[in-house]
């Protein structure tokens, strides 16, 4: 049996593991979760409902139908599959799963991070509705770059924090990559 730990550096092993986790997640998503549709639908509709509740609480008049949200009298926004933050949940969790660390802490970190990304998505949906009310001419830019503002800072910061919390520091020592 080949001993991968002797053959590859800790960094290479980690990248292989992360690549495997992401590949598995994407296959499960494409072949099971997406065709089934329930999780995507739940994420989209719950996000819309929470964003609408938040905006209504703050005094805006909001109307929603399923995946649609709009400020009353304005153009609506539809939260489609692929735009509901599901991708980012997989991206975030994949790193934490692949990067070794205490299992209990890891589970907590995954759950907490997913919760945080979900909340960020609610803010993003609310931001979409408001941008359509106040700056409809900038809709394309708002939509195209919203991930970079709402999701990536959270995901990258949480990844970084996890590397500081985890005891897996041999990734940073010695040769970074190894060849067989």
């Amino acid at each position: 049996m080949i001993n991968l730990k002797n053959k590859f550096s800790p960094l290479t092993l980690f990248l292989l593991k992360a690549g495997g986790v992401y590949a598995a997640w994407q296959l499960i998503y494409d072949l099971v979760v997406l065709p089934d549709g329930r999780l995507d639908t739940w994420l989209s509709i719950t996000g819309v409902k929470l964003a609408a509740a938040g905006l209504s609480f703050l005094g805006w008049e909001i109307e929603t139908t399923g995946r649609f949200i709009a400020c009353v009298g304005n153009r609506g926004v539809e939260i489609q599959n692929g735009c509901n933050g599901m991708d980012l949940l997989g991206l975030y969790a994949g790193f934490i799963i692949a990067y070794s660390g205490n299992m209990k802490k890891r589970v907590m970190f995954i759950i907490g991070g997913i919760g945080l990304i979900f909340i960020a998505n609610v803010f993003r949906i609310a931001f979409f509705a408001l941008s359509n009310l106040y700056y409809p001419q900038y809709w394309d830019s708002v939509h195209n770059y919203s991930s970079y503002v709402f999701f990536y800072p959270i995901v990258l910061t949480l990844w970084y924090l996890w590397t500081t919390m985890s005891d897996h520091t041999d990734i940073f020592s010695g040769e970074s990559f190894s060849s067989a």
Binding site: L15, A23, D87, F95, V155, W159
Partner: protein
């Protein structure tokens, strides 16, 4: 923590944030519009010319990408992007301030390899090798995630070095 350690780390983090903001702005204001123009005006029409009228595959434009999908839903929709897209710039905006040449080279060289992988896989799907579609989707997610991971690890490694 002594003064030098604090100042080197402070300077590094400051450089990192400046890099993220500066490269982000250059990407949004210049690179992405150019990539969108090239995809819309040259790349999509070029790939469209390979799709025969009786084909059940259709292409549709995105912003700086285009999509291949099946009229009969026989394969999942595939996103075809240009190399050196947003994920390259995001990863590099983290790697450049760390001066980690090894990680930078990996990300750079892989983007050069994408000049072969992406068109070949798109042409493969257009010519009926539709089993490539899920493979292309998996590859897209994996390489983008690994770019970002290399970016974060470069930052973490440099901070660890400065701390010690």
């Amino acid at each position: 923590m002594d003064y030098h350690e604090r100042s080197y780390r402070y300077l590094f983090w400051r450089k990192l944030f400046i890099s993220l903001i500066a490269i982000g702005l250059v990407y949004i204001l210049f690179i992405r519009p150019v990539q969108s123009f090239v995809v819309r005006e040259f790349i999509l029409p070029a790939f469209d010319s390979f799709i025969t009228p009786e084909s059940e595959i259709v292409s549709s434009p995105g912003v700086d990408e285009f999509f291949l999908s099946s009229l009969s839903d026989s394969f999942p929709r595939v996103k075809i992007e240009v190399p050196f897209n947003g994920y390259f710039w995001l990863a590099m905006s983290m790697i450049w301030p760390t001066k980690n040449k090894q990680f930078g080279r990996v990300v750079w060289n892989y983007n050069l390899v994408l000049f072969a992988i992406i068109p070949l896989s798109a042409l493969g799907i257009i010519h009926g090798f539709t089993w490539l579609a899920p493979v292309v989707n998996v590859h897209e997610k994996v390489y983008k995630a690994l770019f970002l991971i290399l970016g974060i690890l470069a930052v973490r490694k440099t901070d660890e070095l400065l701390k010690n």
